[in-house]
């Protein structure tokens, strides 16, 4: 799966869970500061991403995933 494909998949999840406009989702964007995803919604995003991409994202990794790019890199490395 390419980085773009993962970004698109994350954008779909972010729209579903937190109402984020898919056009706003890019690798450089911070989940909390730029996309306004709060801590409970971030939990939903992680669980949905695990399901969508067939990966495991442990809770202690989530704090390192500050930006969409961080998440894309982690998922790309796992899948």
């Amino acid at each position: 799966m390419t980085r773009d494909e993962i970004t698109t998949g994350l954008a779909e999840i972010l729209e579903e869970v937190a109402g984020v406009n898919p056009d706003d989702v890019a690798e450089g964007k911070s989940f909390t500061d730029d996309l306004d995803v709060d801590s409970l919604s971030m939990v939903e995003v992680v669980v949905a991403a695990e399901e969508k991409f067939g990966v495991k994202i442990p809770d202690n990794e989530v704090q390192n995933l500050k930006t969409v790019g961080d998440a894309v890199s982690y998922i790309a490395a796992q899948s």
């Binding site: 869970v17 937190a18 109402g19 409970l40 919604s41 939990v43 939903e44 669980v47």
Partner: protein, 408 residues
Amino acid sequence: MSRPDVVVTGLGATTPLGGDVASTWDAMLAGRSGVSALTQEWAEQLPVRIAAQLAVEPSEVLDRVRLRRLDRSEAIALIAAQQAWADAGLAGSDLDGERLAVSVGSGIGGATTLLAQDDILEASGPRRVSPHTIPMLMPNGPAAWVGLELGAKAGVHSVASACATGAEAIALGLDIIRSGRADVVVAGGTEAVIHPLPIAGFSSMRAMSTRNDDPQRASRPWDRGRDGFVLGEGAGIVVLERAEHAAARGARVYARLAGAGITSDAYDIVQPHAEGEGAIRAIAKAIADADIAKRDIVHVNAHATSTPIGDMLEIGGLHKALGDHPVLSATKSMTGHLLGAAGALESIATILAIRDSVVPPTINLDDPEPGLTLDVAAHKARHMEIPAALNNAFGFGGHNVALVFARP
């Protein structure tokens, strides 16, 4: 220091009769029933397959993402509170949050969230349980969301007294303003538990009507053919305000909340006291608290749920506490029983009865009980001057609440 007067300056509701106060009140005065058959698949095996469901779904009002983190009871409390807030002319105002409190309760709370998330837990495991589960099911959730929405910083309270909740929440609002802890209190009740488990529980108690083949005629307080209550869902919210505060900002005043009486039976967990002793004391306390002559309380919006025992006990209690002059209404004949929201919605009906000089009808009262010795506006609304009126609400657990509203 003299006790401050408390007035009602805003109303909001979403009910089986309409998505707001105006449509609900119009339907009530027209004598329309909000009860219908439950056509969901889950209802097929239930002994009770009727309910009074919301006329307007929350998804027509709130956006999808917001609804993901709200229990249905929270969503409708928020909708009704937004309406009441705007109706009071407070939307966009510079009201000091430290002078604003919330008192909104629910009889059962976020039960449908609890049950839905338990289904997910069983089917998919704990990691799939929503992180919003706890704030959605906690009993203070509706009050907390309303407080968050309106910026209330003088305290957010969630009364729970079963079917007396909505009325007790309003009584607490009165106390808060009288004690000086806030100038404005957003108060009321909410309930949304049309789900097989609560229905099965109530019907195991033999408390619900099983008139499944005739939904609109199932809720029939004081009629000899009544066989239990009809479950309803909805929310009712009022804005209570210190009268001087309302006058200073030129607010429109619907009515004065003149007094409240709260008692408990200490008798049985679900049966009302055999002589209605606790109810009589609540009514007497409310009248004394209001300092209004009994003869001026010419209308009562009764608790009257359409159960065989409770309906007639209330009549006896009203006779003893108030006399034989009031004209009664049982609006549950149209809305069904909104449990924790009932006392709030019926307070709104009482307030509008005073404003419009009209007693709403009691539908389905075709064959009145011989013991129904008080006058009821049966089938049709009745126009009459109403200087003051009473609203009763009683709840499992032996809770009795009476509220007296009066012309401003």
